[in-house]
């Protein structure tokens, strides 16, 4: 962006830069708070830490009107298709913050039911360490996403997107979950037929 030095009433830029700048400073978060990290996320949005300074104070519980998914908390096997469906409902361009040890790696919960890192299923732009992370860490992650947005980058662009519903190999959100919850050893055998009715 170039700003004229002599007169202060005009500036030159490219349309992309202007659009990216606008996007970066008006990220609309979609909170996905499933556990204790969600509480810390709420603290980050309150008056003391004041996410409004970064233009992203409007928490929208509607994925279709937001472009920043904040996964804050544990994601179980049963919740993960919901999370992925919400991600796929968000319009491009979109970013994702994985907040806390659980969302990023499963944390201490290395158990039969917990996803060991949401980045196996959705593209993550910024990871936040901590259990839970401080609101300052949240703001740091938000600023990292802003930097990416200013450059027009998003992790989701590195992934094949396209029509997820037509390619079941890439999306679990649109599959019937019949085979997923069964034991790994059963993977080759079809799920038991449910009696019709």
């Amino acid at each position: 962006m170039g700003v004229s030095g002599t007169t202060n009433d005009w500036a030159t830029t490219t349309l992309d830069t202007a659009v990216n700048w606008a996007r970066a400073n008006s990220l609309w978060p979609m909170p996905f708070g499933t556990a204790c990290c969600g509480i810390e996320m709420m603290a980050a949005f309150m008056a003391k830490y004041d996410t409004a300074r970064f233009g992203s104070e409007v928490m929208k519980f509607s994925p279709r009107q937001s472009d920043l998914l904040i996964v804050s908390g544990r994601i179980s096997l049963k919740m993960m298709p919901v999370l992925q469906r919400i991600w796929e409902q968000m319009p491009e361009p979109k970013w994702c913050i994985s907040m806390g040890a659980c969302a990023s790696s499963g944390g201490v919960f290395d158990t039969y039911t917990l996803i060991q890192g949401v980045d196996q299923f959705i593209p993550v732009d910024a990871y936040m360490p901590g259990c839970p992370p401080r609101p300052e860490a949240f703001l740091d992650a938000l600023m990292m996403v802003q930097e990416k947005a200013k450059k027009g980058q998003a992790k989701s662009q590195e992934y094949v997107t396209g029509d997820a519903s037509s390619d079941p190999a890439r999306s679990v959100a649109f599959r019937t979950p019949d085979t997923h919850y069964r034991h790994g050893a059963d993977r080759s055998t079809p799920a038991k037929e449910k009696s019709g009715g």
Binding site: K78, Y112, I122, Q157, Y159, A169, H180, Y181, A191, K192
Partner: protein
């Protein structure tokens, strides 16, 4: 409010002992209630007695849970125990019934027709321990996904599962250009 003393439980203990006789495996004084131990086949009759006997009136269902004693260091009568906690609003005291259920195909009569609150807690115990509640109106999983195999709170279920976590297809980053309005 009635404060707990061992004395105000004496009528309850006397009534239960008289009612069950030999079938009472034992009782234990806990911090603020008594626990009666029975076999699964006697549990429902005892709970019905506690509910309907004049002077007892354990009309309020508090909780129902289970224990798997598979690797417990102290020997127990059976592998599983189903633990029901009840409250008597008139006496102001609680009581716990511990019903031992044999392993293999664990089965115990349902309480869902005595207490509406037992319906979902029994489904939870079925879901996580695989204990079947005979006569339950709608015994299906409540926490785990409907088509999950196994009962994960059993002590012989591996902590990291049996590969369920690996069954989901994962996203892979690719160098391919995104389609559409790139």
């Amino acid at each position: 409010m009635i404060v707990y003393t061992p004395e105000n439980h004496l009528p309850l203990i006397a009534k239960v002992e008289a009612h069950l006789g030999e079938r009472l495996l034992g009782r234990e004084e806990k911090s603020h209630y008594h626990q009666f131990k029975v076999l699964a086949k006697d549990a429902r009759a005892l709970i019905q007695f506690l509910r309907d006997e004049p002077g007892l009136g354990f009309a309020m269902f508090i909780d129902l849970t289970a224990v798997d004693y598979l690797k417990y260091p102290v020997a127990q009568p059976e592998r599983f125990a189903v633990i029901t906690t009840l409250l008597s609003p008139s006496l102001g005291i609680r009581v716990q019934v511990k019903a031992f259920v044999a392993g293999g195909e664990p089965r115990i009569p349902s309480l869902a027709d005595l207490y509406a609150g037992a319906n979902w807690t029994e489904r939870e115990v079925w879901d996580l321990y695989g204990i079947e509640f005979l006569g339950h109106p709608d015994l299906k999983r409540i926490l785990m996904p409907d088509d999950f195999d196994g009962h994960p709170l059993r002590k012989d279920y591996p902590l990291r599962g049996r590969g369920e976590r690996g069954n989901f297809p994962v996203y892979h980053a690719t160098t391919q250009k995104p389609q559409g309005d790139a």
